[in-house]
């Protein structure tokens, strides 16, 4: 490697921004073609290209950080700010859905019957599966902290076990949510109740799946000895993201499932 007299990461030229942009073009055009002509070819092509791009892009980030040593302390600081800003934008994304929910439920219109839940809606019992889901996510918050402390103490075996447990709990949550969706007595087409319920909990479910994938990548990297006791920002970012998903669920549970029923 060439000698450099500064701690910043000068990245190599990369094709991934280009392939990612074309993937976005193919997916948006593909959706339009799908809606108008019932052909999913372009949409599928865009999805495959997007998956290929993200896998190779993040593979390169791992190479740069773990194998090439580019993630010096000042570079890690930049990654931290980036992750904090990303999660902040996600908080605002969910704030919009909560706004829609409270806007509709705090002053229900006459069309809804003037009360909440609206006339004709039988909401889910918050003390059945949703309460179990809350316990599952809180438990996964404990196991992810256990994993973090294991990594910091260099306890490889416990880190692998606790991380595996976290991912399994994430999978169990997703399974229970799928079951709830299947058994729900209302649909997304059932007025503003169905719309706010399924959009808010659906985007949360998507985030749980993304967070579980992020943690699964961390487990793979932990098994391959990528994390040391002092340098494991990839894992910390995944843990931050997981806690964010956890907190969003608590707000969803209290607002939509409990108060909203």
């Amino acid at each position: 490697m060439a000698h450099q007299a500064h701690p910043y990461h000068m990245v190599d030229p990369s094709p991934w921004p280009l392939t990612g942009a074309v993937a976005a073009l193919l997916m948006t055009s593909g959706l339009a073609i799908w809606f108008h002509f019932h052909s999913t070819i372009l949409m599928l092509l865009g999805t495959v290209l997007l998956v290929l791009t993200i896998c190779q892009w993040w593979r390169d980030v791992v190479r740069e950080g773990t194998f090439q040593g580019h993630h010096t302390p000042p570079a890690q600081k930049g990654l931290r700010y980036g992750m904090i800003l990303f999660i902040t934008s996600e908080v605002l994304f969910f704030a919009g859905f909560f706004w829609a929910f409270y806007h509709s439920s705090l002053a229900p219109t006459p069309e809804l019957g003037g009360f909440w839940p609206p006339a004709g809606i039988t909401p889910l019992d918050p003390f059945e599966v949703p309460l179990l889901n809350t316990a599952v996510l809180l438990a996964s918050g404990v196991t992810v902290t256990w994993a973090h402390h294991s990594i910091m103490e260099g306890d490889r075996k416990q880190a692998i076990h606790s991380l595996t447990l976290t991912i399994l709990l994430g999978g169990y949550f997703t399974f229970l949510q799928a079951l709830e969706y299947y058994e729900a007595p209302f649909t997304i087409a059932d007025g503003v109740y169905g719309a706010t319920f399924f959009v808010a909990t659906g985007f949360h479910g998507l985030h749980v799946i993304i967070g579980s994938t992020f943690l699964a990548v961390c487990l793979h990297r932990q098994i391959r000895h990528h994390f040391t006791s002092t340098h494991h920002f990839g894992f910390e970012a995944a843990a931050w993201y997981w806690h964010f998903v956890d907190v969003v669920w608590l707000f969803l549970y209290i607002s939509i499932y409990w108060w909203g029923s």
Partner: protein
């Protein structure tokens, strides 16, 4: 000569080997003292021979660090050789082919429908 990043001056400064930045941590160099000789150690069976077997696979990070830090001016996305090139070319072919197909599909979608 080892370097570390100084938080005070915000520049690289010289440092002792142990304080230098290394993402995988530094292994201590050659030990100063030779280990004491042990005579008459009984022969160990294979299962006992390597007590340092790692849980779920050995650490190959240093091997990969050698591969990816080689000074060959190859960009990071192609540094691993043939598998990298195959994946890159597949992705690039899909990008170019997909973009062309997309243009054709959008052009056809823009034409008025024959009644």
């Amino acid at each position: 000569m080892y370097y570390k990043f100084s938080g005070f001056t915000q520049k690289l400064t010289g440092s002792a080997p142990m304080a230098a930045y290394c993402p995988q941590g530094l292994r201590p160099g050659v030990p100063a003292e030779s280990p004491t000789m042990i005579f008459g150690t009984p022969t160990k069976v294979v299962s006992e021979a390597s007590p340092t077997v790692e849980y779920m696979g050995a650490n190959r990070v240093q091997e990969f660090q050698r591969i990816f830090q080689a000074s060959d001016s190859v960009p990071v996305h192609l540094k691993r050789g043939v598998p990298d090139r195959l994946l890159y070319r597949t992705t690039m072919a899909l990008t170019v082919g997909g973009a062309l197909y997309c243009m054709v599909a959008l052009y056809m979608a823009a034409q008025p429908r024959n009644k």
